[in-house]
């Protein structure tokens, strides 16, 4: 596999790459070095607009641009895109259903040393409550690149969630087929379904290996699009295995775990256990110990999978 690369880096690279092929502009709020839109700015300085440290205003500038047919990508940290500017996104982009692409970086605990004020584990939750919002949380650089192009071709508001941590590349850039709203069957199994998103897909694949030692055959599904959720794939897998574990780098309230519970309670009620941040704020630290402290490892997923299997009737 190639070197590790963060999804934010892949996002910046994708903007620069697709800038040749598609007509769009990029807005940032004084974080272009961190969000990596600076990569695009270097190549297309006349199409990159710094809005300064004023995220609410930036969201509506994007909305205004979108009313004229321009496609804007808007970038800042997830905390400020989905937190501080929630109301602007809700009323200014979501309600008029404007064609704005929000590229939110530094999502989740894996921000690391900056600590709780910058570790946004609530963004999927806030964005998911906005009618008509599409939410994509890519798991690696290939998916991050693919979701940028898919967002350009898609008509409507899209929230893309990128991370700071460098990750292994899971998917082959040339052959990977990305479709908004479609889950990806990573590995079939019969005893328990592990439904993972973003960073946690890597841990989910590791957990499958760990579970083999206990004689448990886990199915692993990658959900890159949290909204609209691929209910069909999730329900089909739940019906087959009879037990589900969700895994996300997000509060267990409001994110993928909630979305899966909502879907399965209506289509295929089975035990669902959630791996995620347990309704807590983050803290400063290096990423690997943080992930351990907050229960976001392969071992945590495996333990929950065993518990879920035990809950089957």
């Amino acid at each position: 596999m190639a070197d590790k690369i963060a999804t934010r880096e892949a996002y910046g690279n994708a903007l620069a790459e697709f800038g040749d092929k598609y007509d769009f502009v990029v807005l940032d709020a004084d974080l272009s070095a961190a969000t990596k839109t600076g990569i695009f700015k270097k190549k297309f300085p006349e199409r990159h607009f710094n809005c300064g440290i004023a995220e609410g205003n930036m969201m509506l500038i994007a909305a205004g641009l979108a009313t004229t047919g321009v496609i804007p990508f808007v970038s800042t940290f997830a905390m400020f895109a989905a937190g501080r500017a929630y109301e602007q996104v809700r009323n200014g982009i979501g309600y008029p259903h404007l064609n704005v692409k929000i590229g939110a970086t530094h999502a989740g605990i894996s921000v690391g040393e900056d600590g709780a004020t910058h570790q946004c584990c609530e963004d999927i939750g806030t964005m998911r409550t906005i009618p008509g919002m599409t939410i994509i949380n890519p798991a690696d650089a290939t998916e991050a690149r693919a979701c940028v192009e898919a967002a350009i071709k898609f008509n409507g508001p899209v929230y893309m969630r990128f991370g700071r941590l460098a990750l292994p590349v899971l998917f082959d850039r040339d052959s990977y087929k990305f479709e908004i709203g479609k889950g990806v069957m990573m590995s079939e199994g019969k005893d328990v379904s592990i439904i993972a998103t973003g960073l946690m897909l890597h841990a989910a694949l590791e957990a499958k290996e760990l579970l083999k030692n206990d004689g448990i055959d886990a199915e692993v599904i990658n959900i890159h699009t949290i909204k609209p959720l691929d209910v069909e794939m999730v329900a089909k897998s739940a019906a087959k295995t009879g037990a589900v574990v969700t895994a996300e780098e997000h509060n267990i309230i409001g994110g993928l775990g909630s979305a899966v519970c909502e879907a399965l309670s209506e289509t295929c009620p089975v035990p669902v256990l959630r791996v995620g941040v347990k309704d807590a704020f983050g803290r400063s630290g290096k990423v690997p110990p943080l992930l351990e402290m907050y229960g976001l490892t392969a071992a945590d997923i495996a333990a929950k999978a065993k518990a879920a299997v035990a809950m089957k009737k």
Binding site: V25, E46, R47, F49, C51, G52, A54, G56, N57, M59, L60, I61, A62, A63, G64, L65, A66, T67, T68, G69, V70, P72, E87, Q88, N91, G92, Y95, P96, H97
Partner: protein, 277 residues
Amino acid sequence: MEKSMLKELSNHATNIRIGAVTAVHSANSGHPGGSLSIAEILSYLYFAEMRVKPEDPKWEDRDRLVLSKGHCAPGLYAALAEKGFFPKEELTTFRHIDSRLQGHPDMKGTPGVDMTTGSLGLGVSASVGMALSGKIRNKDYRVYAILGDGEIEEGQVWEAAMAAAHYKLDNLCIFVDWNGLQIDGPTAEVMNSAPIDEKFAAFGWNTLLINGNDLEEIEKAAENAKATKGKPTAVICKTVKGKGVSYMENSVGWHGKAPNDAEYEQAMTELKAQLID
């Protein structure tokens, strides 16, 4: 301004007032005071200034108007109906469950509405985005926004003001309806936003202070804005809230209250008397 034009625009302003009060009366809710204070601004923009096509409301090269103080939708709807974007009869559906005239402007539902507004401070930022788009695509349309003097208490207004000056958006002109009243009382007492002109000037705007109920002063300001290069223009408009209906004028209570049937009849009598033959 020629006398015939002045008469025409004055009558449009009065018709906008009649339409706005009628809409609020039919809904038995809504915001008459701030709709009446901006009738001359709306009349001038729609009937003397803006290039729009009522038969093609989404025309790409049109001038744009963002009603950033979105609660004054009755005024905007009355102006759009007066201009022919939809039938005037529709004004009596305002705020009704099957109407396309929502309590606050909805660009997806109402012909002629250029931006969805209602949450204060958001519209002006959208107007900055529209003006920026015009600059980067070399379009010659102009963008107008109408703000309230209470609205500018929102910090986002000043984020937008900073950005518009930074990007030298001389295709943007905003009108601040300085009627001096907001829901909880006089603006000077609730949260003093004065001096408004000096604030915008300090943010790098071309700033004008006028009587916002005087059509000739509005014309001069709009012409000044068009002639100003390299910076956006803020026209601070001293107005009378509730203008044209005696019992509503300068009254805080008429910010967001509908007239009863008797009050409505009186308003219609007073307003119709203001039409010039």
